[in-house]
């Protein structure tokens, strides 16, 4: 119930676009896997409604503190609010969907 009460505010500024940020550190296998997994999930469930920004902390270590990144890779959902973080290579698609709170377009009338 409460979740629904909060949701309208979130969806109010929500233009339906998922702004995601993926933090990686160099081209490690884990990073590459995470990137591939993320793209696949987004293409399948959020086609045209997402933006992915990949930040390589090897090149920009200063950005790590801003989003409180410790684990690599970390996926941050900046929008829609609230902010969410998923760490790991995103190998479990179900958990990614739940974690990013992606409701499939068809299921949501």
């Amino acid at each position: 119930m409460t979740a629904h009460n909060i949701d309208p505010t979130a969806s109010g500024e929500d233009d339906g676009v998922y702004r995601l940020r993926l933090y990686v550190a160099g081209q490690t296998p884990k990073s590459l896997t995470a990137m591939a997994n993320l793209k696949r999930v987004c293409e399948q469930h959020l086609a045209g409604r997402y933006e992915i920004e990949v930040i390589d902390l090897m090149q920009n270590p200063r950005l790590a503190a801003g989003d409180q990144i410790l684990a690599i890779p970390t996926l941050v959902r900046r929008l829609p609010a609230p902010l969410k973080r998923i760490i790991g290579d995103l190998s479990n698609t179900e958990k990614v969907l739940v974690g990013l709170d992606i409701r499939s377009q068809t299921a949501q009338p």
Partner: protein
């Protein structure tokens, strides 16, 4: 892991042997051959214990329960590092936000914000909110490495603090990854040659909840905040220091406005030098009672007395005398405030405030219950070190309450602390009840044998009044009066009164005065009697002389008479002879 049993640390039994151990361990410490490079912490006592500080270029674990001062210790390490040793540092906080951290240590006089601004210290607050993190598949903590690496590079850090990295254990589900990453992190710190403090929360039966000691094996320091009889004492122990000798005892440490100080309490080594310089007590009568006119410098003097005998006044007088000689004095008062001591001293004509203003006299007033015994000792140690006094008053030692053995141990070290520095110590001790002159066994807290001198102040009750008397029970190395002396405290100070010892013992007060009057009257009578006798003798002598004169005159008269008779006799003889010749001539003529 060598099981640390939290139960054995406290307790009285541990207190005494510790003194012995210390001398051994610390004597071993300074003889540091070219050993491990060390990163000094700038915490004076701590660097002494460890022979120079924490291991340089390696991680050290500082563990302790909540509120034991881990974060402060770590911050001091960083701040001193950059301000004293030109080693910038990084503070990675997993608990407090950087602004909270700055506010917390501001009370110690550390201006973290300024140091951050100057690029001397970098603070990174790592906040991991379990609620908005989801784990999905493989990951590592490269982000932490990068952040740390970035912070280290940004200030050119040589020192790092991770406070408290254990919080990560509640942030991540995958403990296996976390543990391997931590191991990698500590390895990375060593590779980079960073002197690092890792703080850890004390766990049950182990040093840290997450067994951090498994990863950080070079140096482990345990901070402890024990409550004993409602009084807490902070203690520090170097549990382990690979490749270096270190003091192994628990050392009390202080956190106050002057930061952290660890007190390597000196041992019972009796190797201190002695002085034969005699210093006056400021009480002429008392000086006179002591063969040399005062006590030796560096003497430990015990002043015992019942309530109201003027223990504090005696100490104040001695302090005043010392200050007037230009010496520095410290008074640790535990039952009065400094202002009170000053006011009370004024009543015996002493102006202590003047000395305090001149910076010669410092008061340290604290309730005995403010800290534990060890802490008091630690505080005194620090204050004495900082102020460098020549005379220290501890008023009174009986204010310290606790198990007897512990109190005695602390006092012993207090005496030793002063003796080792050649500081004259005056310890006052309150005795209860008893107006008798017997030596009260428990008033000296077993201290008497430690003390070089012992002056006992008592009340003597007689004839409905109480008079104050003192006597010197002992004064090592000098002859002293064996008399019980009455003293009076007035605006002119403390004055000793000439002893009055009559057939009924020492008389004091009005009894003394009346006895003096009686004796004076008797003396007068005796004097008059003697005068009378003397006059009589003179008279008799005159009479005898006269008689002698008369006799001699009579004798002379008799002698003259005899001479006259003799002459007459001779004249008659010669006359007869002449007559005979004349007769003969006449006869011849006639024939």
């Amino acid at each position: 892991m060598p099981g640390y049993d939290p139960g054995t640390g406290s307790g009285r039994a541990a207190t005494r042997p510790m003194i012995m151990e210390y001398t051994m361990s610390l004597e071993a410490a300074p003889s540091s051959r070219p050993t491990l490079p060390k990163a000094p912490t700038g915490i004076a006592g701590f660097d002494d214990i460890t022979g120079g500080g924490l291991p340089a270029g390696r991680p050290s674990l500082i563990c302790g329960s909540a509120g034991s001062g881990k974060t402060l210790f770590a911050t001091t390490f960083l701040v001193n590092g950059t301000t004293l040793f030109d080693e910038p540092g990084v503070f990675m906080s997993f608990e407090e936000r950087s602004e909270d951290l700055a506010a917390n240590v501001a009370s110690l006089g550390y201006n973290l914000d300024k140091l951050v601004e100057d690029g001397r210290i970098a603070i990174d607050h790592v906040q991991v909110d379990r609620s908005d993190i989801e784990e999905n598949g493989e990951y590592d903590l490269e982000g932490l490495f990068l952040r740390l690496g970035f912070a280290v590079d940004s200030v050119g850090a040589k020192r790092v603090v991770l406070d408290t990295i254990e919080t990560l254990f509640s942030s991540f589900d995958n403990q296996a990854i976390l543990r391997s990453e931590l191991r990698r992190l500590f390895g990375w710190i060593k590779d980079r040659g960073l002197s690092c403090i890792i703080t850890g929360e004390r766990g049950e039966g182990q040093f840290t909840r997450q067994d951090l000691e498994e990863y950080v094996s070079d140096c482990v320091v345990l901070l402890d905040n024990r409550v004993h009889e409602q009084i807490t004492t902070r203690r520090l122990r170097v549990v382990k220091y690979r490749g270096s000798a270190h003091g192994t005892n628990e050392y009390p440490f202080l956190i106050d406005a002057q930061g952290i100080s660890v007190l390597p309490v000196t041992g019972a080594g009796l190797s201190h030098g002695v002085s034969s310089e005699v210093v006056s007590t400021g009480i002429p009568g008392l000086d006179a009672m002591l063969g040399q006119g005062g006590f030796f410098r560096g003497t430990s003097l015990l002043l015992t007395g019942t309530a109201g005998t003027g223990k504090t006044s005696f100490s104040s007088t001695m302090v005043n005398a010392a200050c007037e000689r230009g010496e520095r004095c410290m008074m640790f008062v535990f039952e009065e405030s400094a202002a009170q001591v000053v006011r009370n001293a004024r009543s015996i004509g002493l102006d202590l405030q003047r000395h305090a203003d001149a910076g010669l006299l410092r008061f340290e007033a604290a309730r005995p219950s403010l800290y534990g015994l060890e802490m008091h000792l630690a505080r005194m140690h620090r204050d004495v070190e900082a102020f460098g006094p020549q005379l220290v008053v501890i008023d009174p030692i009986t204010a310290f309450r606790g198990p007897e053995a512990e109190v005695q141990s602390v006092l012993l070290r207090m005496v030793d602390l002063l003796k080792a520095r050649g500081i004259t110590g005056i310890f006052t001790s309150l005795m209860h009840g008893g107006t008798g002159a017997t030596i009260d066994a428990d008033a000296d807290l077993g201290m008497s044998s430690l003390m070089d001198a012992w002056v006992r102040l008592t009340h003597e009750e007689a004839n409905g009044e109480i008079n104050r008397t003192l006597y010197i029970i002992k004064a090592r190395g000098m002859s002293h009066s064996n008399q019980v002396r009455e003293y009076q405290m007035s605006e002119a100070g403390i004055g000793l009164i000439e002893p009055y010892i009559g057939p009924e013992g020492v008389l004091t007060g009005s009894a003394r005065l009346s006895q003096v009057a009686r004796e004076q009257a008797a003396a007068l009578r005796r004097q008059q009697e003697i005068e009378r006798r003397r006059r009589e003798i003179a008279r008799r002598r005159a009479a005898v002389d006269r008689q002698i004169q008369e006799l001699r005159a009579a004798l002379e008269a008799e002698e003259q008479e005899v001479t006259l008779l003799h002459q007459q006799d001779q004249e008659r003889e010669s006359a007869l002879a002449r007559d005979r010749q004349a007769m003969a001539r006449h006869r011849t003529a006639a024939e």
